[in-house]
Symmetry: C2
Amino acid sequence: MVVSTKGRYALRVMIDLAEHQTDQYMPLKQIAARQGISEKYLENILKSLVQHGLLQGLRGKGGGYRLTRPADQYRISDILMLTEGNLAPVSCLEPGAPACSRLPECRTYEMWRGLDKVIRDYLDQITLADLARPALAGDDYII
Amino acid sequence: MVVSTKGRYALRVMIDLAEHQTDQYMPLKQIAARQGISEKYLENILKSLVQHGLLQGLRGKGGGYRLTRPADQYRISDILMLTEGNLAPVSCLEPGAPACSRLPECRTYEMWRGLDKVIRDYLDQITLADLARPALAGDDYII
DNA sequence: CTTAAACCAACCGATTGAATCGGAAAGCCA
DNA sequence: TGGCTTTCCGATTCAATCGGTTGGTTTAAG
């Protein structure tokens, strides 16, 4: 598996925020309820999204989270890279991986590179806006 | 990560066999030595390759393993599917996965399906023969 | 000064990955 | 027959990761 629940949940939250975007902050409680995910678990995930600048968080009453930029400026690969650490299909291609001593005679390295590229290209080309559905009138309307 | 050591090792062994193919059986000991992989660990991997008909094993003196068909008739996806169980990029797409109750409203399902297809298409199109290098004269010559 | 919310660190149980161990059965050869 | 060699097989180990929880601390609004 390339993508664990962490990445999938992060994506769902981002989409949720894109679909319910206002000038207000959206509290985690509401996101978690809508998405049916444990609040406490989401907390961990959103923390790293905030730390890397994909979301802005505000504490206290009236606080919550909101996107820091328009939905079409988030590539899916960015969101997944951040939560998963990397999207490499094999450990040889992971960022900090030690150089393999068999590399010069390796018959498979180029194939793995190709696979990595195919995955990355696919996820680079899709943005949050492509996945978020424009909100219907009256659909989950926030007072 | 889509592919663990199990799949990577299986692939390396298959390529090794393709490159050293004769009418003889190749003992595990030699494959393991050439590839620098633990014999005992490879044993497990080769067992499943034999059980699924990708390799033929022969016990006893003079025994070992050999391919059951020409190298260009093994798709990389077949070998990896077998050792990894599945190549799904997310658990939602795994073979025995329970149907997700959120499927009708899921914004990401089609995207995951697309990713799955991109990966599968890539690995379907490559065969063992594409990765095996034709043996040079005198290269790893077996007495 | 109370209440709602994000932030933060530590912990925990189950699963998976990567092997290893100790043999049993099969086939070759003398 | 008995000794090799080699595959076949099930169980076990050990560490890391996954998925999630507990319990508390700030921060901000009213």
